[in-house]
């Protein structure tokens, strides 16, 4: 049982009905959904188009007013100043001011929080470095590629070191290396006790980083639970070993067959294509120090100001 104080987000009976000009109900976008998200959880909202994911996120952000139900962010309504001060939001499209440079954009958003000028400057420089944007910091966002724009959008979401981070399709438009960086960042933040809500169509992303998911369809939650519980296949067992001599393997297989009556299937575990791609890029750059993911990991740790995180432990994308 989750203690009330552990809860970051609490949603009860949330409903949203869009009405037409004459105030007649037209679309029931969200239909009485409820869920609770604890501190440090990465919560994934899954569902096909029109299932109510974005509407739910918008209500969590105060961009839409619920027709019914209740939302609480650390005990406050989403429109409350404190709730907004501890929330970071990265929308599906970046929605940035294209006439501002990356640095100006981040300085602007930083100035909306109660921080000193020195803190703002430091935070902005850290985020620019963390996102690998320090060399493009004085270029206008309108001149950026989609991937770079997404990085600026993510940086602005992190500008206040938020307790609750809401990400709508965070890896959309990013190359695989950047995708990995974002996923690693999410995991690192969760380990630091930050709560993350993530809506995505990319199931692999959700599987990689979410500790808990809810699957929405037609405005209702159809399944909710932890990813490990949902995806565990209790009918089968896999044992992972370092490579062994063929004779040793045959002996082990023979023993298993003798006990179970069935010969087990043997195969080499495969990397995900994303892992493989990241490795290829890393090798091409020839050195770990110049690899963006490696370099940025150090900066992330510095930004988060609490020691270092083992990047490998954050990567859950390797499959058997």
């Amino acid at each position: 049982m989750m203690k009330q104080t552990d809860l970051t987000v609490e949603v009860e009976g949330l409903t949203k009905v869009f009405r037409d000009f004459w105030m007649r109900p037209r679309i029931v976008a969200v239909d009485g959904i409820s869920f609770k998200i604890a501190r440090g959880e990465v919560f994934g909202l899954l569902g096909p188009n029109g299932s109510g994911k974005s509407t739910t996120l918008k209500m969590l952000l105060g961009l839409l007013y619920p027709t019914g139900g209740r939302i609480s962010i650390l005990g406050r309504p989403p429109q409350d100043g404190y709730a907004r001060a501890i929330t970071g939001y990265m929308p599906e499209e970046s929605y940035l001011y294209k006439y501002l440079t990356a640095r100006e954009t981040l300085m602007f958003y930083a100035s909306l929080f109660n921080t000193t000028a020195a803190q703002r400057t430091e935070r902005v420089e850290q985020l620019l470095e963390m996102m690998g944007l320090q060399h493009s910091a004085d270029r206008r966002v309108g001149e950026f590629s989609k991937g770079m724009t997404r990085k600026v959008a993510l940086a602005q979401a992190l500008i206040n070191d938020p307790e609750l981070l809401i990400l709508d399709e965070p890896t959309s438009g990013l190359d695989p290396v950047a995708c990995r960086q974002v996923k690693d960042l999410v995991i690192t933040l969760a380990k630091r006790g930050k709560t993350i809500i993530l809506a995505s169509h990319l199931l692999a992303d959700v599987e990689d980083i979410c500790s808990k998911i809810a699957i929405l369809y037609d405005g209702r939650v159809h399944v909710e639970g932890t990813v490990s519980e949902m995806l565990q296949d209790h009918k089968h067992l896999s044992i992972t070993l370092d490579s062994v001599e063929p004779a040793v393997l045959e002996s082990v297989l023979a023993d298993i067959k003798r006990h179970t009556g069935r010969r087990p299937e043997v195969r080499h575990p495969a990397y995900t294509l994303e892992d493989f791609f990241v490795d290829v890029v890393a090798r091409a750059r020839n050195t770990e120090a110049t690899l963006p993911a490696g370099g940025q990991h150090g900066t992330i740790a510095s930004f988060l100001s609490h020691g270092t995180e083992d990047r490998a432990s954050g990567s859950q994308g390797r499959r058997q």
């Binding site: 918008k58 105060g62 499209e93 929605y95 006439y99 602007f108 109660n114």
Partner: protein, 457 residues
Amino acid sequence: MRKILAIAGLTIRNSIRSRIFTPSVVLVLLATSAFPLILIGDGTIQGHVRVMIDYSIRVLTYSLVASTVWTAVRTSTAEIEERQMWLLITKPVTTTDIWFGKWLGVLAMNACLLFVAGTALLATVKLRFRPSKLTAQELHVLSTEILVARSTIEPDCSELQEEARQLTEAILSRPGGRTSSREATLASAQSEIEKKRNRVAPGDSREWRFHVDKTSSADRSLFVSFNISSPRQLEMKPLTVEWHAGTQQNRLLQSYRDDIFPSERNSFLLSSSISRAGKDILVEYVNAQTNPPSTVLFHDKTGVSILQNTASFESNLVRAMMIIFCQLALFAALGLTIGSLFSMPVAVFVSFAVILIFMLGGFISMTVAENNSLSYHPFPSIRWLDPFVRAEFRIFNAILAPVRHWGITANLPRGEVIPWSEVATAFAIQVVALSGLTGIVGAWLLKKRELGAPCEV
């Protein structure tokens, strides 16, 4: 406050970089530098300068009103429709911060544009009418009549008030005379006497007394300014006027006779002997238009006054720009609030309607004042609209009443001072009260609006 200033800074940056600012600067420079060069006056140097300044101020004002409303509407609607507002509103800022930040941003741009406009207009006037190109007489006329700021001294009306008081007592003492309050009877009597006195038949005369501060008038020129109507103006023919001016001791120190066009405000310079003479100045008008004879009518409020040089043209120009600034502040507020309420196309339509109503302000005011009616319209089918049109005009007239401070900028080309009290009033009414109120409404509308709603719903 930091949040408001950050949003104001963002508005300025976006406007400058999105090329709204550059066309506005070009427009302002055209209005104040290029446009005046193609204007010609009535053949006199003062007429030329007056027309030039008057038209420049009008063109500048209308173009800035249009650009301000457009900028304000766009800065609001574009951010909502392009969804930058999503990121802004999810930060710890209130809709009041957002509204006032944007408003301050637009105001800062207007201040820059007005600074450019004022400098350009001053430079154009000074260059176009530089001393080396003018005769001594022209230079004197310009420096004493147009490129100055003259304050108004109203005539002493104690005699009129006394007469009105006596008439009021007489009316009230009559049997059945107390049909309305003393104040209303007094106001009515005063108005009647004033109207009677303001009508001067051919060969008749009328006299006014002015109390002038001797110390302040000793080294300054004094002008008699008058505003009269005559049937001659319908015939587009000049009217012969004759004035005598003097003091209590010598009533005929100066005589002035001229042919003028009655539809305009006219003035003449009082001789220095009168300016220096004493506290009381007596001015007499003689209706010299006897061939053909024509009665003249002095306007109620602005019939006759003495103008006294009190400030420089530059100072008056600054005040005119400040009055325009106050006006633009209100338009920026209206534009932002319209943008907070409507989507882009609707907001543009509504704001152009606002500008149109503003531009028709003079016509609306005149129609209401003259109580014009559609009851006598040649097409009977539209006569029934009369009560609705009258009501509509009255509503628009009431709405436009607070922005009438606009008209005071017309003092600039006439060389009349725009009092600081008028600037302060314009600021208090238009910037603080009306814009503040509009801002509160705009912020509330923005708060109530579901910014995340899908456009098609």
